[in-house]
Amino acid sequence: MRQLLNTLYIQTQGTYLSLKDENIRVEAEERPPVMIPLHHVESLVVFGNVMMTPFLIHRLARDHKSVTWLTEQGRFMARTETPVSGNVLLRVAQHGCACDAERTLAVSRFFAAGKLQNQKQTLMRSAREALNDDPNLLRQAARDINGQIGCLPLAKTVDEVRGIEGTAARIYWEVFPLMLRQNRDFFWLTERTRRPARDPINSLLNFVYTVLANDCASACQSVGLDPQMGFLHALRPGRSSLALDLMEELRPVTADRAILTLINRQQLTPRDFVLHEGNTVTIKDDARKLILAHLTERKKEEVTHPLTGRKTPLGLVPHVQARLLAQHLRGDRAHYPPYLHR
């Protein structure tokens, strides 16, 4: 089993990274350089204006450690692809499955079922701690989503699966603000808006999903799957559809839960956001740092994987799921079993 190593995030603008004695040397203004031994780092995520020597990029590529470039606001720009990207036979199996409507439908159903189940679980968990009348509304939403799960086996095309997922998403986002217990007048959510984010919750969701999508893309690649060849998500040039598929079931329990926790513990407050004219919102630097720290801590938390029964750090769940998917595509496993959070 793989060991969960750390991701190094570089947020400070104007930082200069280089390779020195098997270490990543981080130089930022007005600070003595920091040396981080390569064997502690699994991947590197840099925000905005961060420079890196070619030799460091080469070395990271050679060690199969990914580098992800994001804008200062956390929007995805690029990722390195390392030279050996897995098993051709596995990719052939994956493409074969993606071209087979029946099998695509089956896999998509499981992705969607995992997501819906985990959304339901997130709602139920919040209902136990919610205030006033909210528990009933949250439970009702959970029941409605449960109804949608029942519809999944009846779906005859992937489009119908997407429709069911969309209905569940509408139910879920409608009650999402009810799961917040602090600063409710500030944290609102009318609808999911991606770019630009129109409200604080959307800006948080976009940021956290980008981070999670990177983890899922890395997981696909480390198992040897083609991250672009998805099932539930339509194929589109440049889009990591499979990474997004894999991410669906993890969104509610990792990303959404993280945001809820930070807001409910008042670690994120209205002061952490900048509201711009024209209804766009950005997150302040320190708050972004706080979110990344929280996500990294959470990755270390151990969960019992429902299928393997083994204690697994939450951060490795994408890898476990990618491996299970690979087994299914190769024909070693009858179904793809989604990750169901407890």
């Binding site: 060991q3 750390n6 991701t7 190094l8 995030y9 570089i10 947020q11 400070t12 930082t15 004695d21 098997e22 270490n23 981080v26 930022a28 003595p32 920091v34 040396m35 981080i36 031994p37 064997h39 502690h40 780092v41 740092k289 990344l292 720290a293 990294t296 801590e297």
Partner: protein
């Protein structure tokens, strides 16, 4: 991960000794972090520990130099006291710079 404390004394009276010192220091830097001039805290897997020991043994002169590797008891924060200047960084904590 195993936490180690690695310290060394390398005889630097001769040019060869100074060369050995630089090599030993480089090997330590590659595996861990410098907490004092010739003292390193190192977090490694068992395999990496074997590699580190092998490299150090090749670099040192067993008749002149001394290298000591201590295993630190975990959790580190409970068993390691640092006073004065302390540049230690925990690499298993979130790394956000």
């Amino acid at each position: 991960m195993i936490d180690l404390l690695v310290c060394y004394d390398v005889k630097t009276e001769t040019e060869a000794g100074r060369r050995r010192l630089r090599r030993v220091a480089k090997i330590c830097v590659a595996h861990g972090q410098r907490v004092q001039n010739s003292v390193f805290e190192v977090g490694v897997t068992d395999v990496q520990l074997l590699q580190l020991r092998e490299k150090l043994l090749n670099a040192m002169d067993v008749t002149e130099d001394s290298i000591r590797i201590y295993r630190l008891r975990q959790p580190r924060e409970k068993f390691v006291e640092a006073h004065g200047v302390d540049k230690y960084m925990d690499f298993s904590e979130p790394l956000i710079l």
